[in-house]
Amino acid sequence: MNLRIVLVVAQLTLREIVRRRILWVLAGLSVVSVALVAWGVDRLVTLSRANGINAYELEVGVSQILILIAFMFSFVLAMSAAFLAAPAIASDVETGTVLAMAARPMHRADLVVGRWVGLGIVVAAYAVGSGLLAVGVVRLISDYAPPSTAVALGFLAFQSIVVMTTALALGTRLPGIAAGAVTVVLFGLGWFTGVLGSLSSAFGVQSLAGLGDAFRVLFPTDGLWRGVIYGLEPPQVVVATQLGGRLAAANPFFADSPPSLAFTAWCVVWVALVVALGAWLFRRREL
């Protein structure tokens, strides 16, 4: 691998996203979303206080709203990451742009890794930026500060990077639209099997719980999403839910513990493996 070429391609990717106004559209949408959220939270807090709801209850309610906002952002981020990354190489191949580039003295892997670095910077920056904005506005309005914003946003960015990596790797062999669609389906399946696994685990259906765990290893977005929840929910919610029995524990917007260090390390390895797979597929491709 040639670091100089990786950086050239990463810079090209960043410039493309800025020039094509993709980032500005996403930033604009985030600002509008956060403004609407701010209005909703402000109304909820003001009216609830007027109704005599105490600070503890309000904190729990706002934390749940914040988790839902994070879920909305995670979905938007996943879609954005999928549809930014899927055509990154696929459309260069379709338009012939890649021919002149691949004829240069470079490994094709440099192109894949360079794209990954550029997209990773954008996706992570967008996840952290939009997440900080949402958390900051909610804190300003309701005084609720999540116990670990950094953990939550870290896992949110990581989840987006997993989605982006998948779409990029698929786009080295599939047309952009197909790569994006497959990635979105995988993301949806990840969330579904995660919820199914949690419920199965709570109800003692071990075979289905195992299925959820297996899919979480193969496509780890849901496992990382649990890290986002854990970073946003107050400790009293964890305690109350654990006391609440099976149904409460099976709530898909609840996490009683952060992702394990082993799982997080696996996710790092997973990303590296998928980038390597994309590079290998692209190297084998006839242009």
């Binding site: 090209l12 012939g96 021919l99 004829a103 240069r104």
Partner: protein, 305 residues
Amino acid sequence: MTGPAIETRGLRKAYGRTLALESLDLRVGPGEVVGLLGPNGAGKTTAVKLLLGLVRASGGDGTVLGRPLGDRGARARIGYLPELFRYQAWLTADEVLRLHAGLAGLPWPQQAAEFNRVLRLVGLADRRHDRVGGFSKGMQQRLGLAVALLGDPALVILDEPTSALDPVGRDDVRAIIRDARSRGTAVLLNSHLLGEVERLCDRVAIVNRGRVVAAGTLGDLLGEAAVRLRVTGLPEDRSPLAAFGPLAAEDGWLVIRPVDPERIPDVVATAVAMGGRVHAVDPGRRSLDDVFLDLVRRDGPGGSA
């Protein structure tokens, strides 16, 4: 460079059951301009992609600048203009060059001077800060040439370099290719524009159905010189003219083929001395069009990819 810029032996490419290139034997010497001619689907673009390592050969072998096909070291010294190219529409011409200079590893201090040189060469110096998305197809083709000539490569591979250009643009490209040749750059010109090839190339390889059906210098391919006279009033005995070469009548023309081109003025003078009235003289030989069409029709139409 002393060895051939390109040398292939029986180069073959199949996509599944589809044979795109059956067997390509091609040689391009250093500083030589060689035209690869062929009808659509003959396998010309496949041949170029094989040379650059963009696709893998199914058989045969070859070298480019003395290295195996697709070798990265060789690619550092090759300029390439793809047939179906598109540069990033959101970049300026200058930025496209900077991107390719970065990919090619052109030393930073040389870049500005090199950009000036190639942009001036292709006539885009005053549009260097404009976005490629606003360029006409012809301007994009000029930019493609600038990208291909970046860094003064030892070999330039041009796949249909004039397809989008007007006559002025085509003339400019011819001048650019001649300039490259004068600098010792070998050029492989992939084209279906026979006039282009006829004017520029030292040698020509005609490809049909995935293999070279004829190759050689233009003189070899076009065959013997001839002269056609439209002449009236000649006597029955035409033996003085037959002394220059075999005579034939074709469509009202008197044809002498072969003939020494240096003696054509003597042919005309002899016809006049015999009492003939010369209305037209057409010195020449078969055009490349004639040779090409004959070869392709004899070999069978169309390629497989």
